[in-house]
Chain length 243, copies 2
Amino acid sequence: MPKTSKTRIYIDGSLACDSQLVLSPDLAHYLLSVMRLSGGEHILAFDGHSGEYECELQILGKRSAAVKILSKTRDFVATPDIRLLFAPLKKDCTDFVIEKAVELGVRAIVPIITEHSISDKIKIERWRAQATEAAEQSRRVDIPSIAESVTLSKFIAAYNPARTLYFMDETGSGRPAAQVFQNAPAPADFLIGPEGGFSDSELKLLRSQPFARAVSLGPRILRAETAAIAALSCWQSLSGDWQ
Amino acid sequence: MPKTSKTRIYIDGSLACDSQLVLSPDLAHYLLSVMRLSGGEHILAFDGHSGEYECELQILGKRSAAVKILSKTRDFVATPDIRLLFAPLKKDCTDFVIEKAVELGVRAIVPIITEHSISDKIKIERWRAQATEAAEQSRRVDIPSIAESVTLSKFIAAYNPARTLYFMDETGSGRPAAQVFQNAPAPADFLIGPEGGFSDSELKLLRSQPFARAVSLGPRILRAETAAIAALSCWQSLSGDWQ
């Protein structure tokens, strides 16, 4: 019986049973040289729109490989239509927030530039690679998207009022998370301010929007990455796909 | 008017208004050489049992300092009686879990050794220093304790059945977090397995305890540190001090 590797990969293409698909040079390199898999080994693959498949790895040459798609292991299911909007942090913290947001099932991540943002360097390609890796490891069958960065004022001006924008209000004047997130269906967005907090004019702008809700996450000071994970977890448990 | 620094420190002692307290050499070094504060500057200090105070820094010598306690800024309030029990992870992840658990208001952290634990190196003193730093930064007025490490089986055998033990069940057979954590008052404990998951015999042991409840955190695979933050956030929002 062939060994089934725990390796799980995203393939940018369309997978279907009984077909063969030649892998990109990057993916072939990853499977053959990084993961050191051999021909005939089984892996799991998903394409982001049709589900997950068990595949057999086939070696075509020293740096070339394909997968033969054997059977469908899971149907496609989209994560809820929620987005995380956050002001980029120091590099390690940003990496961390992306990984956790993907595990917690966001459909998209939007880098938001605020007045107190400490960084406006958005490495979109790097973020996309990290989001894909986190999707592979958290057993998602979809790939979260990373949007282009946008300033908070432009984002608010273009906001679709059919969605709800939850912003984490560090001033303590938001309502408790469990109250706000009860019966709060998607589509929804979760906005986390930078370490320095929102400016007074940003808070005024947010509070005057009919689609925005201020949320309080308790009496302690949470770092931005903690607030992001806490908000997503609370919403998923009360109104998302953890129910 | 004296400059009030944002510096906030824990002092292992007893603070009271209108008294003076000589700082330990470590604390004096931190304030004078690391934070580069000057005599006369104001800082916030808490002692872990009587609240928070505004203090004036007084220089006694090149490496020696005291604080004059001016006024009480906050009364003491304990965090809920909850503990995080987790199997030590790789160094960075462990650091991270400690910081986040403190921000999320645990009263204690207990390192648990499970069959699949990847590490049993518990550096208690390092963990305590990290927990103290996180308490200073999250504006807590109490200091979470770090227990000695214990194996899961010993921990279960000595468990106080007046508490409730919530364990994150990756097999999918737990009840959804929002159901379990609704009306679930402290004292409570939150047990997160290692990256490799609980062993079959550990799951059997946990499931047979009348004080234990299996919790599901949704359909995706969460890393251990994500599960810890998610569980604590959901509980705090539903039955803890975020209400």
